[in-house]
Protein backbone atom coordinates (compact mmCIF):
# COMPACT_ATOMS: atom_id res chain seq x y z
CA UNK A 1 0.00 0.00 0.00
CA UNK A 2 1.20 3.52 -0.73
CA UNK A 3 1.69 5.99 2.10
CA UNK A 4 -1.05 8.57 2.53
CA UNK A 5 1.02 11.39 1.03
CA UNK A 6 1.83 9.40 -2.09
CA UNK A 7 -1.80 8.34 -2.38
CA UNK A 8 -3.01 11.92 -1.99
CA UNK A 9 -0.62 13.10 -4.68
CA UNK A 10 -1.78 10.38 -7.06
CA UNK A 11 -5.43 11.16 -6.41
CA UNK A 12 -4.89 14.85 -7.13
CA UNK A 13 -3.01 13.99 -10.30
CA UNK A 14 -5.77 11.61 -11.35
CA UNK A 15 -8.36 14.29 -10.66
CA UNK A 16 -6.45 16.39 -13.18
CA UNK A 17 -6.77 13.51 -15.63
CA UNK A 18 -3.23 12.08 -15.70
CA UNK A 19 -3.37 8.56 -17.11
CA UNK A 20 -0.28 7.37 -15.21
CA UNK A 21 -1.88 8.33 -11.90
CA UNK A 22 -4.95 6.17 -12.61
CA UNK A 23 -2.72 3.21 -13.37
CA UNK A 24 -0.60 3.72 -10.24
CA UNK A 25 -3.72 3.91 -8.08
CA UNK A 26 -5.15 0.79 -9.69
CA UNK A 27 -1.87 -1.06 -9.16
CA UNK A 28 -1.74 0.00 -5.51
CA UNK A 29 -5.35 -0.64 -4.57
CA UNK A 30 -6.92 -3.24 -6.86
CA UNK A 31 -5.75 -6.15 -4.72
CA UNK A 32 -6.94 -4.47 -1.52
CA UNK A 33 -10.31 -3.93 -3.15
CA UNK A 34 -10.29 -7.60 -4.17
CA UNK A 35 -9.48 -8.67 -0.58
CA UNK A 36 -12.40 -6.74 0.89
CA UNK A 37 -14.74 -7.90 -1.87
CA UNK A 38 -13.69 -11.50 -1.31
CA UNK A 39 -14.69 -11.20 2.34
CA UNK A 40 -18.18 -10.28 1.21
CA UNK A 41 -18.89 -12.38 -1.85
CA UNK A 42 -16.77 -15.42 -0.92
CA UNK A 43 -15.84 -16.32 -4.47
CA UNK A 44 -12.57 -15.15 -6.06
CA UNK A 45 -14.04 -14.60 -9.53
CA UNK A 46 -16.92 -12.53 -8.16
CA UNK A 47 -14.52 -10.64 -5.91
CA UNK A 48 -12.42 -9.71 -8.93
CA UNK A 49 -15.48 -8.38 -10.73
CA UNK A 50 -16.60 -6.39 -7.71
CA UNK A 51 -13.10 -4.98 -7.16
CA UNK A 52 -12.79 -3.90 -10.79
CA UNK A 53 -16.24 -2.31 -10.91
CA UNK A 54 -15.67 -0.55 -7.59
CA UNK A 55 -12.36 0.89 -8.74
CA UNK A 56 -13.87 2.08 -12.02
CA UNK A 57 -16.71 3.69 -10.07
CA UNK A 58 -14.20 5.33 -7.71
CA UNK A 59 -12.23 6.74 -10.64
CA UNK A 60 -15.40 7.97 -12.29
CA UNK A 61 -16.43 9.87 -9.16
CA UNK A 62 -12.94 10.82 -8.05
CA UNK A 63 -14.02 14.41 -7.44
CA UNK A 64 -16.26 13.15 -4.62
CA UNK A 65 -13.14 12.02 -2.75
CA UNK A 66 -12.80 15.18 -0.69
CA UNK A 67 -9.84 13.91 1.34
CA UNK A 68 -7.36 12.39 -1.13
CA UNK A 69 -5.19 11.14 1.74
CA UNK A 70 -8.11 8.94 2.82
CA UNK A 71 -8.64 7.45 -0.61
CA UNK A 72 -8.20 3.89 0.72
CA UNK A 73 -11.07 4.13 3.19
CA UNK A 74 -13.27 5.86 0.63
CA UNK A 75 -12.53 3.19 -1.99
CA UNK A 76 -13.14 0.31 0.42
CA UNK A 77 -16.55 1.75 1.28
CA UNK A 78 -17.43 1.71 -2.42
CA UNK A 79 -16.20 -1.90 -2.59
CA UNK A 80 -18.42 -2.89 0.34
CA UNK A 81 -21.46 -1.26 -1.22
CA UNK A 82 -20.88 -2.94 -4.55
CA UNK A 83 -20.22 -6.27 -2.87
CA UNK A 84 -23.49 -6.01 -0.95
CA UNK A 85 -25.32 -5.21 -4.16
CA UNK A 86 -23.56 -8.11 -5.86
CA UNK A 87 -24.56 -10.44 -3.05
CA UNK A 88 -28.16 -9.27 -3.25
CA UNK A 89 -28.34 -9.90 -6.97
CA UNK A 90 -26.69 -13.31 -6.54
CA UNK A 91 -29.29 -14.23 -3.94
CA UNK A 92 -31.95 -13.23 -6.43
CA UNK A 93 -30.33 -15.55 -8.94
CA UNK A 94 -30.26 -18.20 -6.19
CA UNK A 95 -26.68 -19.34 -6.73
CA UNK A 96 -25.05 -19.81 -3.32
CA UNK A 97 -21.27 -19.46 -3.25
CA UNK A 98 -20.72 -22.90 -1.73
CA UNK A 99 -22.53 -24.62 -4.60
CA UNK A 100 -20.96 -22.60 -7.35
CA UNK A 101 -18.36 -24.26 -9.55
CA UNK A 102 -14.81 -23.70 -8.36
CA UNK A 103 -12.54 -21.29 -10.14
CA UNK A 104 -9.74 -22.73 -12.23
CA UNK A 105 -6.45 -22.87 -10.30
CA UNK A 106 -4.14 -19.95 -10.91
CA UNK A 107 -0.77 -20.56 -12.52
CA UNK A 108 1.78 -21.77 -10.00
CA UNK A 109 -0.85 -22.87 -7.48
CA UNK A 110 -0.76 -26.46 -6.23
CA UNK A 111 -3.21 -28.92 -7.85
CA UNK A 112 -5.49 -29.08 -4.80
CA UNK A 113 -5.59 -25.30 -4.56
CA UNK A 114 -9.25 -25.29 -5.61
CA UNK A 115 -10.30 -27.35 -2.60
CA UNK A 116 -8.16 -25.30 -0.23
CA UNK A 117 -9.52 -22.11 -1.71
CA UNK A 118 -13.10 -23.26 -1.18
CA UNK A 119 -12.28 -24.28 2.38
CA UNK A 120 -10.67 -20.94 3.10
CA UNK A 121 -13.55 -19.01 1.57
CA UNK A 122 -16.05 -20.97 3.64
CA UNK A 123 -14.04 -20.36 6.81
CA UNK A 124 -13.74 -16.65 5.99
CA UNK A 125 -17.48 -16.54 5.42
CA UNK A 126 -18.06 -17.62 9.00
CA UNK A 127 -16.08 -14.66 10.37
CA UNK A 128 -17.57 -11.30 11.21
CA UNK A 129 -17.25 -8.60 8.56
CA UNK A 130 -14.52 -6.57 10.26
CA UNK A 131 -12.25 -9.46 11.38
CA UNK A 132 -12.59 -10.90 7.87
CA UNK A 133 -11.48 -7.65 6.25
CA UNK A 134 -8.65 -7.24 8.74
CA UNK A 135 -7.22 -10.74 8.19
CA UNK A 136 -7.51 -10.45 4.41
CA UNK A 137 -5.90 -7.01 4.29
CA UNK A 138 -3.15 -8.03 6.70
CA UNK A 139 -2.32 -11.58 5.68
CA UNK A 140 -3.18 -11.44 1.99
CA UNK A 141 -2.64 -7.81 1.04
CA UNK A 142 0.16 -7.13 3.53
CA UNK A 143 -1.22 -3.93 5.04
CA UNK A 144 0.11 -2.84 8.43
CA UNK A 145 -2.21 -2.27 11.37
CA UNK A 146 -1.83 1.47 10.92
CA UNK A 147 -2.94 1.18 7.30
CA UNK A 148 -5.84 -1.09 8.22
CA UNK A 149 -6.88 1.29 10.99
CA UNK A 150 -6.94 4.18 8.51
CA UNK A 151 -8.68 2.16 5.81
CA UNK A 152 -11.38 0.66 8.02
CA UNK A 153 -11.75 3.61 10.36
CA UNK A 154 -10.92 1.61 13.47
CA UNK A 155 -8.11 1.88 16.02
CA UNK A 156 -4.85 -0.02 15.63
CA UNK A 157 -5.62 -1.87 18.85
CA UNK A 158 -8.92 -3.02 17.44
CA UNK A 159 -7.18 -4.06 14.23
CA UNK A 160 -4.79 -6.28 16.22
CA UNK A 161 -7.65 -7.69 18.23
CA UNK A 162 -9.70 -8.50 15.12
CA UNK A 163 -6.68 -10.12 13.49
CA UNK A 164 -6.08 -12.31 16.52
CA UNK A 165 -9.72 -13.42 16.65
CA UNK A 166 -9.88 -14.02 12.89
CA UNK A 167 -6.69 -16.05 12.75
CA UNK A 168 -7.78 -18.22 15.65
CA UNK A 169 -11.17 -18.87 14.06
CA UNK A 170 -9.60 -19.63 10.69
CA UNK A 171 -7.12 -22.08 12.21
CA UNK A 172 -9.90 -23.87 14.01
CA UNK A 173 -11.91 -24.11 10.83
CA UNK A 174 -8.98 -25.27 8.71
CA UNK A 175 -7.61 -27.75 11.26
CA UNK A 176 -10.98 -29.41 11.66
CA UNK A 177 -13.34 -29.84 14.62
CA UNK A 178 -10.78 -31.83 16.66
CA UNK A 179 -8.49 -28.80 16.87
CA UNK A 180 -11.29 -26.62 18.21
CA UNK A 181 -10.66 -27.24 21.89
CA UNK A 182 -6.97 -26.34 21.92
CA UNK A 183 -7.38 -22.62 22.40
CA UNK A 184 -10.17 -22.82 24.94
Amino acid sequence: MLCTDATATLVVRAQRGEAAAFEALARAYLRAAYSVALGFVGRPADAEDVAQDALVQAFEHLDSCREPARFAGWLLQIVRNRARNGLASRKLRDVPAAEAPSDPPADGAPPDAGALRRELCAALGRLGAVPREVVLLHDLEGWTHAEIAAGLDISEVMSRQHLFVARRALRRALDGPSAGGEDE
Binding site: A26, R117, L120, L136, H138
Partner: protein, 116 residues
Protein backbone atom coordinates in the same frame (compact mmCIF):
# COMPACT_ATOMS: atom_id res chain seq x y z
CA UNK B 1 -0.02 -19.40 17.89
CA UNK B 2 -2.63 -17.02 16.54
CA UNK B 3 0.12 -14.46 15.92
CA UNK B 4 1.39 -16.50 12.99
CA UNK B 5 0.31 -15.29 9.59
CA UNK B 6 -2.32 -17.40 7.86
CA UNK B 7 -1.24 -18.55 4.43
CA UNK B 8 -3.88 -17.08 2.14
CA UNK B 9 -1.74 -17.29 -0.99
CA UNK B 10 -4.23 -19.59 -2.74
CA UNK B 11 -6.62 -16.64 -2.72
CA UNK B 12 -4.03 -14.25 -4.15
CA UNK B 13 -5.18 -13.13 -7.61
CA UNK B 14 -1.68 -11.89 -8.52
CA UNK B 15 -0.34 -15.45 -8.87
CA UNK B 16 -0.87 -15.04 -12.59
CA UNK B 17 1.25 -11.91 -12.94
CA UNK B 18 0.67 -10.99 -16.60
CA UNK B 19 -3.09 -11.51 -16.27
CA UNK B 20 -3.22 -9.31 -13.19
CA UNK B 21 -1.15 -6.64 -14.91
CA UNK B 22 -3.59 -6.63 -17.84
CA UNK B 23 -6.43 -6.31 -15.35
CA UNK B 24 -4.80 -3.32 -13.63
CA UNK B 25 -4.24 -1.53 -16.93
CA UNK B 26 -7.78 -2.29 -18.11
CA UNK B 27 -9.33 -1.03 -14.88
CA UNK B 28 -7.29 2.17 -14.99
CA UNK B 29 -8.31 2.79 -18.59
CA UNK B 30 -11.98 2.01 -17.94
CA UNK B 31 -12.01 4.31 -14.93
CA UNK B 32 -10.34 7.14 -16.79
CA UNK B 33 -12.73 6.80 -19.73
CA UNK B 34 -15.76 6.71 -17.43
CA UNK B 35 -14.58 9.83 -15.63
CA UNK B 36 -13.90 11.65 -18.90
CA UNK B 37 -17.36 10.74 -20.16
CA UNK B 38 -18.98 11.83 -16.94
CA UNK B 39 -17.14 15.12 -16.88
CA UNK B 40 -18.16 15.84 -20.45
CA UNK B 41 -21.83 15.29 -19.69
CA UNK B 42 -21.57 17.24 -16.44
CA UNK B 43 -19.89 20.17 -18.07
CA UNK B 44 -22.49 20.26 -20.81
CA UNK B 45 -25.28 20.21 -18.27
CA UNK B 46 -23.70 23.00 -16.25
CA UNK B 47 -22.98 25.00 -19.38
CA UNK B 48 -26.57 24.73 -20.54
CA UNK B 49 -28.21 25.05 -17.16
CA UNK B 50 -27.51 28.75 -16.49
CA UNK B 51 -28.54 30.12 -19.90
CA UNK B 52 -31.61 27.88 -19.87
CA UNK B 53 -32.63 29.12 -16.44
CA UNK B 54 -31.98 32.74 -17.46
CA UNK B 55 -34.08 32.34 -20.61
CA UNK B 56 -36.89 30.71 -18.65
CA UNK B 57 -36.80 33.54 -16.10
CA UNK B 58 -36.91 36.18 -18.87
CA UNK B 59 -39.82 34.46 -20.56
CA UNK B 60 -41.69 34.23 -17.28
CA UNK B 61 -41.04 37.90 -16.56
CA UNK B 62 -42.14 38.99 -20.03
CA UNK B 63 -45.24 36.85 -19.82
CA UNK B 64 -46.15 38.32 -16.46
CA UNK B 65 -45.65 41.87 -17.71
CA UNK B 66 -47.70 41.19 -20.83
CA UNK B 67 -50.60 39.77 -18.82
CA UNK B 68 -50.46 42.63 -16.33
CA UNK B 69 -50.47 45.34 -18.99
CA UNK B 70 -52.89 43.79 -21.49
CA UNK B 71 -55.69 42.69 -19.17
CA UNK B 72 -57.09 46.12 -18.06
CA UNK B 73 -56.70 47.85 -21.45
CA UNK B 74 -58.39 44.94 -23.23
CA UNK B 75 -61.58 45.10 -21.14
CA UNK B 76 -62.48 48.75 -21.88
CA UNK B 77 -62.42 48.61 -25.68
CA UNK B 78 -64.54 45.49 -25.61
CA UNK B 79 -67.26 47.29 -23.64
CA UNK B 80 -66.95 50.45 -25.71
CA UNK B 81 -67.04 48.63 -29.01
CA UNK B 82 -70.12 46.72 -27.88
CA UNK B 83 -71.87 50.02 -27.13
CA UNK B 84 -70.97 51.42 -30.57
CA UNK B 85 -72.00 48.29 -32.41
CA UNK B 86 -75.00 49.25 -34.69
CA UNK B 87 -76.60 45.87 -34.16
CA UNK B 88 -76.36 46.32 -30.43
CA UNK B 89 -77.82 49.87 -30.61
CA UNK B 90 -80.66 48.77 -32.92
CA UNK B 91 -81.45 45.84 -30.68
CA UNK B 92 -81.51 48.17 -27.69
CA UNK B 93 -83.91 50.51 -29.50
CA UNK B 94 -86.18 47.60 -30.38
CA UNK B 95 -86.16 46.21 -26.88
CA UNK B 96 -86.92 49.54 -25.16
CA UNK B 97 -89.27 50.86 -27.87
CA UNK B 98 -87.14 53.96 -27.93
CA UNK B 99 -87.66 56.30 -30.90
CA UNK B 100 -84.37 57.76 -31.98
CA UNK B 101 -84.34 60.86 -34.11
CA UNK B 102 -83.15 60.81 -37.70
CA UNK B 103 -79.76 62.31 -36.94
CA UNK B 104 -79.05 59.60 -34.42
CA UNK B 105 -80.17 56.83 -36.81
CA UNK B 106 -77.93 58.28 -39.50
CA UNK B 107 -75.02 58.50 -37.04
CA UNK B 108 -75.40 54.85 -35.99
CA UNK B 109 -75.85 53.54 -39.49
CA UNK B 110 -73.18 55.90 -40.80
CA UNK B 111 -70.77 54.66 -38.16
CA UNK B 112 -71.59 51.13 -39.20
CA UNK B 113 -70.80 52.10 -42.77
CA UNK B 114 -67.61 53.84 -41.76
CA UNK B 115 -66.25 50.87 -39.88
CA UNK B 116 -66.64 48.67 -42.93
Amino acid sequence: MSDDKIDLSVLDPTHDGPRWERLVVAVAERGRAARRRRLTVSFQLVAWLRPALAAAACLGLLGGVAIATSAPSGATPTTASAADDPAFVLAAWAATSERPDTAEILRVLGASHGTD
